[in-house]
Amino acid sequence: MANLRIEHLHKRYGATAVLNDVNLKIEDGEFVVLVGPSGCGKSTLLRMIAGLDGASGGDIHIADKLVNTLAPADRGIAMVFQSYALYPHMNVRKNMTFGLKFTGVPPAERERRVTEAARMLRLDELLGRYPRDLSGGQRQRVAIGRAIVREPAVFLFDEPLSNLDAALRVSTRVEIANLHRMLKSTIVYVTHDQVEAMTLADRIVVMNKGCIEQVGRPLDLYYAPANLFVAGFIGSPAMNFFEAKVAGVEGACARVDGPGFRSFDLPATSLKMGDTLTVGVRPEHLARREDGSFTVEGVVELVERLGESSFAYVRRADDRLFVAEVRGRQTPTPGERVALAAANRDVHVFDSSGLRVSSPTNT
């Protein structure tokens, strides 16, 4: 178990910069999830932590030790790959002990660790089998077992569940959470799946184009996204965005106005008359209600019923669509004119550079 510190990490392939000045501090025992769109450099970052790829600049410390020049095996990490990467010509037991042989772990100790990991991951029955005779979920557990027996300071997972079907993904997710609770080790976990990120993470790191956009606890990212990118990335369906302008400034209050919604006041001292803004509201925060300073109107165009809730696609006066999640049995019908409102704290305002300004106050 150990902390992990990444300082000014850069990675370039020729002229293309893949990672740009990445700084990240991960505490001992923390479960950190890296998310971001495809190609943003998550795998690259993970592989650099593992030592599989070299850095173009910057430092990586594991357990307060500089590991820049250490080989992967000497960094105290273990990695679980997306394709599992089990050795096809070795049975499960051999797959798990193979690496230990080369790091000088005595046979008795190897045996103890394998037995322990097999018990933890319910692999006892499978120790003699070859990877080809295992199901996807079992292979995944073996891959995790191979990581556990290394007794690493830091576990690295690269999209470990993406090859599993939906049901198995849920159960394996729970297992990984349990594992973290039992082992209390530091974990860096890459995923595409928002639910995985929200449920597993102590903290989520949102990356975009080789940079870290925001680091925070799952609910902080959800309720207080630092910028437009994070706001649009976290949450499904994605946040609705409305173009807006500062229509007037009175003392410490700016009047925000835009096509399709009623204007409201914002406590913001730095804004000037005429500044362009973006207002963001999550579909699940829009409801038919009277309070709330933010109200949009439009004509329902399409309704998707999911059972516990429905998604209404609403066309505003300025011909743009937005989505509202409507709970309960009172689903709107297409063609109906609706007015939907959100509570102040659920309205996010971003300035022209994409940074969060604040939420409106009650007027």
Binding site: A50, A71, A73, A78, S83, L86, P88, H89, R132
Partner: protein
Amino acid sequence: MPESVSNITAQMPRAKLAGLLLFFLGPAVAIYTLFSIYPLVATMALSTYTSDPSGARSFVGLANFKTLLGDALWSKPFWNALGNNLIFFAVHMCVQNPVGIALAGLLSLPGLRLRGFYRTVMFLPTMLSVVIVGFSWNLILSPLWGVAAGALKAVGLGSLFAPWLGLESSALVTLSLISVWQFVGIPMMLIYAALLNIPDELIDAARVDGLGQFRIFFHIKLPLVLPTISLVSVLTFVANFNAFDLIYSVKGALAGPNFATDILGTFFYRTFFGNQLQLGNPTMGSAVATVMFFIILLGLCLYLFFVQRRIRRYAF
């Protein structure tokens, strides 16, 4: 739902099905029959005849084979050629294939520069005509005007030089090594292609497990390309027991010195077509060809029963 092929064919009128089969399989069967099966059968048939000096042929059953294996005049050169052929094969197995594997391993190292250049250069001799290769090496190794003696002297190893191609003791091995030099590109390419098939993540996993490139090669890559290596061995076996051209172009049909480089191919050639004072004997030649066929068949059967069944292919 797309219908399965067997369903479709089952519902077809028989005549139409036959026509379809003929259309798809006919050309291949015809060509294979004409150029492979017919010559093979004809050769085997010819090996059971003998011809008198007038040219008339008469059926003699297996008498030719009895002569070939029993009459010292025939059996001595036959066993000599077979023994030489085994040595020829052994040199290929012990040198060509390990070197090919090693080169493929080096080519597949991550971060190797000029990879395409090395690959092409090492494959180049394979594309040369055997006649050119034989002639060039004959010149290179010639004690009179060859560069080998001078080159060895230049690095202080002049005393090691010998007219290798001319000595009974070394001619066969020298020729085998020339053949190895020419054809090492083939196992290299086949195994290199197999190595490329191994997923990168598997190699990464081994690196995380603490293996260096050398151990990764021996513990991970090599076991995974065993099927290809065994395929290469079979190809080597068949090619070696059918070999003829290199010996013929360097040493002529007499495969000197004193038949030291005589292999089954050259032995067959002399028997069938004749050479200098020896008259061509097509019926005995056919017997030799038939024996060669059965030797290769036996080798393949042994391989299929003892090796192929134990080898496992891995899907990644």
